[in-house]
Amino acid sequence: MPLSILLPMVVLGIAGIAVLLHLLGLSRRAVLADEAAARAAWLREYPGDAPVHVTLCQDHSAALIETGRGRGVVWPMGADTTARHLDGARLTPTRTGLRIDLPDYTAPRVHLTLDAGESARWQATLKETA
């Protein structure tokens, strides 16, 4: 197939599907219903590292996890979730909460939506880890 046809078809196809998905409401991010959901999301990534304490953020978009091995965070990846330990994490307050930079090429940055008080508490807790 000539590139002059293939290229526009691929670009328009990708853009069209992405716009359609968004308009259908399929850009919604995962919400952690409760602490049990946050715990399950953590165990999905680290089945051998059970949480001993879970702090769910107020809008249920992420959770701070404490385990026998240290602290970690669970956050949405689109409609799903992922999780990472926080060893070597750098914290930066943002207008909407907190940014966590991780020394991990597969998960370099986590943006958390937290209110002011929550952000201060999470920073205080996480600074013990970082």
């Binding site: 992405a18 799903d80 992922t82 597969t106």
Partner: protein, 316 residues
């Protein structure tokens, strides 16, 4: 010996069909409220990976093709281009696909290229297009060498490889449950391939087939989809980014970081490249074999069931 043979670029010609089928699957899911899930950024990443794969094949395809033409110059054999030869080439190339795919899961150097195909937590037709950008660097083109040396023209080998990829497109769906029994017995199907994309310990490293599932049954790597264990899609450790550059290169970066650590022997550096994913010099990580063993230790009742080993020290 025939040098100038033209076969259509079937994967490029299939692009309109891919787009139409994705729209049809999406419509089905939205209308019926079942049969799979879509999410915008996940699908967008998959589609960009697919476009990058086409771009990489246009830019780097000459390396593999040059290698194949070199072999074609050497071989005294020429099987021609009859329908029977094309059909035989398709079957043998599917056997080639099985082994390349199996190497892709058991040799980290090859996994570095293939991992991106498994990096979505979704399983829909866009996942089929989440293809590698770095396949050339795995050197797996050598596995096609016997076909060309046997007298199958390189253009034909690439043509049937394209048909193989197109076949595999439709099996990346949850909208189809099971096909008729005779079809499930011989062909790769959505059910068999869902299992291949599972991150459940039971479903790791199995069902490598492209078109014919018989290869897995023949070589002992077949695991059926179990009604009682729903497939959980994605990687053992799921990515925390949708950035296509990171999706494409993360395992290569991982290999580089691991193999260049201080204090390793040369053997250990090499092993970080060629041992199964999850291997580590200090045993701090888990391979799929170790994940399965840990799972069985925690759930002894599952020992010896499909995809899982017997309890250590026991035989069933």
């Amino acid at each position: 010996m025939t040098d100038m043979i033209a076969f259509p670029e079937v994967v490029h010609w299939a692009v309109p069909f891919f787009i139409a089928a994705i729209l049809a699957e999406l419509l089905w899911i939205v209308i019926k409220g079942r049969g799979g899930r879509y999410e915008t950024r996940d699908a967008l990443t998959s589609l960009v990976m697919g476009a990058g794969n086409v771009a990489s094949s246009i830019l780097l395809g000459f390396i593999a093709y040059g290698f194949f033409m070199l072999l074609w110059e050497i071989t005294p054999l020429d099987l021609g281009t009859s329908i029977g030869v094309i059909a035989l080439c398709f079957v043998l190339d599917d056997l080639r696909y099985y082994w390349v795919h199996r190497f892709g899961h058991r040799i980290r150097w090859v996994w570095a290229s293939h991992v991106n195909h498994h990096s979505s937590q979704h399983y829909n037709l866009t996942t089929a297009l989440r293809q590698t950008w770095t396949g050339t660097f795995t050197f797996m083109m050598v596995v096609r060498a016997p076909l060309i040396l046997l007298g199958f023209h390189p253009a034909m080998v690439l043509f049937v490889g394209g048909l193989n990829l197109i076949y595999q497109f439709w099996i990346h769906t949850e909208a189809i449950g099971r096909m008729p029994r005779w079809f499930e017995a011989v062909m790769n199907t959505p059910s068999h391939h869902r299992v291949h994309h599972g991150r459940n310990p039971r479903y790791l490293d199995c069902n490598y087939a492209g078109v014919f599932i018989v290869w897995d049954k023949l070589f002992g790597t077949f695991v059926p989809e179990m009604e009682e264990e729903r497939v959980d899609y994605g990687l053992v450790r799921n990515l925390g980014t949708f950035n296509p550059i990171r999706v494409a290169f993360h395992e290569w970066v991982g290999i580089f970081r691991d193999a260049t650590q201080r204090g390793l022997t040369w053997r250990e550096r090499l092993n970080y490249c060629i041992m199964p994913p999850g291997w580590s010099h200090d045993g701090s990580r888990e391979t799929s074999t170790e994940i399965k063993a840990r799972h069985v230790a925690a759930h002894p009742e599952s020992a010896g069931t499909p995809g899982l080993p017997p309890l250590r020290g026991h035989t069933r």
